[in-house]
Symmetry: C2
Subunit: 492 residues, 2 copies
Amino acid sequence: MSTALETLKSRLADVNALHSAVALMDWDQQTYMPHGGADARAIHTSTLSRMAHEMFVADETQKALQGATPEGPDDEALLRVVKRDLELATKLPSKLVEEKTRLASVAHEEWVKARAENDYASFAPTLARMFEIAKEEADHLGYTDDPYDALLNQYEEGGTAKDVRAMFDAIRGPQVELVKAIGGQPKVDDSILYGDWEEAKQREFTLMLIKEVGFDLERGRQDTAPHPFCTGWSIGDTRLTTRFKPYIGSAIFGSMHEAGHGVYEQGSPEKWDLTPLAGGVSLGVHESQSRLWENIVGRSLPFWKRFFPQLAEKFPVLSGLGAEGYYRLINKVEPSLIRVEADEVTYNLHVMVRFEIESAMLKGELDVKSLPDAWNAKYEEYLGITPPSDADGCLQDVHWSQGSIGYFPTYTMGNLLSYQFWTKLQEDLGDTDALIEGGEFGKILGWLRDNIYVKGRSMPPKDLVQHVTGRPMDAKPYLDGLKEKYSDLYGL
Amino acid sequence: MSTALETLKSRLADVNALHSAVALMDWDQQTYMPHGGADARAIHTSTLSRMAHEMFVADETQKALQGATPEGPDDEALLRVVKRDLELATKLPSKLVEEKTRLASVAHEEWVKARAENDYASFAPTLARMFEIAKEEADHLGYTDDPYDALLNQYEEGGTAKDVRAMFDAIRGPQVELVKAIGGQPKVDDSILYGDWEEAKQREFTLMLIKEVGFDLERGRQDTAPHPFCTGWSIGDTRLTTRFKPYIGSAIFGSMHEAGHGVYEQGSPEKWDLTPLAGGVSLGVHESQSRLWENIVGRSLPFWKRFFPQLAEKFPVLSGLGAEGYYRLINKVEPSLIRVEADEVTYNLHVMVRFEIESAMLKGELDVKSLPDAWNAKYEEYLGITPPSDADGCLQDVHWSQGSIGYFPTYTMGNLLSYQFWTKLQEDLGDTDALIEGGEFGKILGWLRDNIYVKGRSMPPKDLVQHVTGRPMDAKPYLDGLKEKYSDLYGL
């Protein structure tokens, strides 16, 4: 006779196998699947997703969870995580989930068209319904202060609108000021970084980089996809994708970013492999790791003192820049319209606009009709530029059309946490510039693994931040870090 | 309220999604999966296979099948096919299936080791148990005349040992005679076909070939794998793999072979996509299509009159051969030890040895201890050569270690049927040499599609052969075809 705990674990293993199948089907669709496979793939993934959901929320799972007696701290953590996941999965009525799924698929098509034709009005009614659904979701999930809390909590356990506001209040002033100060300096001409870069050489170079920083290619791989992502099935199989663009930094920093997600997944404890305790704890913490490797390590001067010679060997046209020159160009700051192309300094300002708008929409303080004007006003206020069209303005992101409302702030959390973790790492490891220039990435990765990755999902993200850094999420290390780096770069 | 037929179809769709997941996981494992993913992959595929099996044999499926009322001939065919599949799936006790699965995994390791060390004795006890299991399987599946019938029927519906014996009796004498006659002629020196052929050029050339003959790369792709295979998920997504070896023919004829399987799958009717009626009807008929494109088309003179110039352009070292010279070399006949490297004429003799041995083992007329001697005696009798070791003899094939007993004859059925179908095709289309040399493969493929592929699995294979050619499987077209081709080649 199985115990309730064994029954629970066995059901979770079945659910894990189904999710793994869907994840492989998604990976395959974005990398290798021939065009003609799309219809069948949609049927297969939706069928398997439904089966996984049915199996997870079934009475048998609920009963097994209720009856399960933990046999130690790992089991306690498992039960806590499963209880949370199960509550989230069951609180939303399946009718609402179904409507949202159907609407999202329609909305995506409408969004693509509206963006292409710069026709916000055609998309507005669907967007309005999507926000209504988000409000209904929040009601079903439940909240005390703000409907936003219920939505954000899905992506970032325990995250609240209040936290997010405090976070943005802390950085808004200094970031806008820094952007303005940089704007007063001479413009950086980085046109040499644009060209027809040979794909095979970019691939070799980025593979070398991610391997050097510690992404294990025996337990992972890198492929090409239209939009870079990281996915995986076990600590033995975590995969990245990248893409090749005319800007030489696209593949390089995109690869470093995804490798940051990848080393987090690869560093998850083996004992939790294939269970709900495996992998990264939240979107914010996950993003802190990708941003740490992309920005703090990858866009640093010591990093390029180490790797610029190899880059210049592959692309001799760049060799005249030298490591220092290249470092200057890849850290060019300039307010721009498109979030995904924004530099490190202006990035959060884009996120802030989105958070403020989605938050106001949820509260009914802003309606879809007024959204484009509100968007443009905020771009003028925070970035000093006005989008010439809605296509380059409020229609640029895919997220709301998918129903991902309450998700944007995790990008900024990741930015802040990357510096907060790094500051603690520096306290423990000392001269990180020397480590980076010396290629001793194993020491950096080892610290991250021992302090963060090894916890998997066993601690809620807020507890993890407190545990690792001795304090809650804090903007200071981030603001100090940016100020130091860019004052030096721009002679402020 | 759903009808029983609707319930059945819905359950079959779920089973199809699960099988698709396992097939994608298998494809991925053989093409792109990093080494470290193997353990998790084994867990995921076995979990999903178990779920698919449980869902298929469940009472709900059985009841839905019993209660289903067909609404037309398609439904009638569906119910017939599902009834057969379900009977096969339920007749074997799960305890036996489990033991076989476990033994197969042990046996595979033992077989690899035994082959590498030429140590048949170490593998013999496991092989003995595998044959006992095969006998038990036959008992559970049921048969009238011969336990072999029950096993073969799993691979080839309605196939019997009697058919197989008649087939081999019909070809044994003429094939052995033809091989002897060729052996009396001067040896062909094909050493120029061995070399260090550039992989990228081989890939380009084989992709061009399979596209030319009609494999649709919008609905399929070709990757590299250690052992070539064809797999798929829908008529919109059928995939081939190939491999690159020092023999120039390996990738070329391997690709043509797999593309033959591929065009069969791609030609399945859209209305049956993702249902049990989709795809190829049996292993024998499937193999007839791969062998038709590989041998009858791909190893013909008109084919190389058309494509040799492009081959010589990629590999100029071959250009001196000309189409005729190349045609001679790729059709070199020579008795050899290894089945998978055998030429068209000697191939069936290898299969015959295996059938006769597995058949005698099942009846208890031969024991595992005597197997190597029996093997070697038959190689001497049919091919005129004696294996110098068991590694090159009875240990060469993976099949028995996997428990695939009763499967080998489908290779020879495929060879015979390829010529039988081709003869009928020639009656209908006329001068096929002109079609091939003119690159009019669409006409050939069109005939195959309209006469064979369009039937999917709706007719049992024997009925299909009768329907298409007006007679049961028949060795004459095959023997006539070989005799004509090789008499000409070897001046007999």
